[in-house]
Symmetry: none
Subunit: 226 residues, 2 copies
Amino acid sequence: MSRILVVEDDPAILRGLSDNLQAESYDVVTARDGETGYRLIREQQPDLVILDLMLPKLGGYEVCRKVREEGVSTPILMLTARGEESDRVLGLDLGADDYVTKPFSIRELLARVRALLRRAKPPQPLPDELRFADLVVDFKRYEARKGDTPLKLTRKEFGTLQLLAARAGEVVTRDELLNEVWDYHNYPTTRTVDNHIASLRAKIEENTAEPQHLLTVHGVGYRLVW
Amino acid sequence: MSRILVVEDDPAILRGLSDNLQAESYDVVTARDGETGYRLIREQQPDLVILDLMLPKLGGYEVCRKVREEGVSTPILMLTARGEESDRVLGLDLGADDYVTKPFSIRELLARVRALLRRAKPPQPLPDELRFADLVVDFKRYEARKGDTPLKLTRKEFGTLQLLAARAGEVVTRDELLNEVWDYHNYPTTRTVDNHIASLRAKIEENTAEPQHLLTVHGVGYRLVW
DNA sequence: CGTTTCGTGACATCGACGTGACATTTGTCG
DNA sequence: CGACAAATGTCACGTCGATGTCACGAAACG
């Protein structure tokens, strides 16, 4: 389901939003100040951001402007106590997609969340299987074979391979892998990715010293070719 | 090039900043007190403001707040002797975009200036691939071929080529390349760019002594033609 | 309680990168 | 035309970050 980041300093409102969104079976991530919110937008790559205007450390306007300038296109729903037209205009100018003024009804907010998510681009579909050379991987059954010999792949290995396969040939960064394959409760270091790549190579490559399919792009990430 | 307004009352620091910025070929405008600075922001419409916190007549905070209230979105880099977190927070809340505490290294300040200017400009779309003559470059896959032979390009080489391709035929200055291809943590000299151009030529030109595509424009920069 | 999976750290290795020295070219001005 | 300075080309070297690899311990799981 979709991941939603809520950036709000008022604990009561944050709690209320979080509960209601979770009840709708969204993944909810929260931040209580602008700086954390800004960081989480990049780390978690949420599908939607609900952003309060008045925030400690870094205001909602600044967060909005900064992420937009960096080319992030995640929909942003602005939240504010002030209902003035000028705020609305400024917010939308800075790249917000919608605007709700406090106090708001939860029903209306959820409706707007759904609308924004519908508008957003659908997440990239992951393949059900992968076949090349003598390798067969079935992501639905969690089964893999190389030639006649069955391979034992772990969950992370399946996930890693699946994302790489979905973007066949393109470079996938370590951060992207962490965001897609790992959940946001544990967010290990990028070195962890290297290790899983290594164990994948040990299983699918003939010679790990000179991988033919699971290639490293120095300073960028990994790519899968065949 | 970009115009920068420096508002600083200490003559020594003002002079140092001004010289260094001019050496980087920025247009520099200066003010020694807050009132003048405030006026010049509106009159000169600089692309960036470097704003000291402690100023005669009108403090840096006030200048920042006032121009932001007027909807001016010019990036502001705050400068202060005090390094306390509270100052930083206040500054960012009031609409400053970045913050440097004295004493600061000129190189770091210049890097932040570049970063702010880069963010302020709308990012220009970069091509996904480049094809001419027998050359094929895929920037998503980080793959390149010249005829039948695969080319091994480094990250910087891909980036350099991509920016040149985005502005095909136009001259791109070394500074622009440094700003786009290099991140602001490293900001080498412009000579570094020459080196990467040289290695690119070695890979894509038939005869590096007489480049046909990656051309030098003496005293300006490089351009890519085909 | 044993097994599997996973995350982390240590270590070695490799590649990309920045820098400086020197050679060469270009532009400028006498 | 000729000399000089600045800009650029070229190369080699040292450094540092990125990556591969391994081993250990923790956590999850049955």
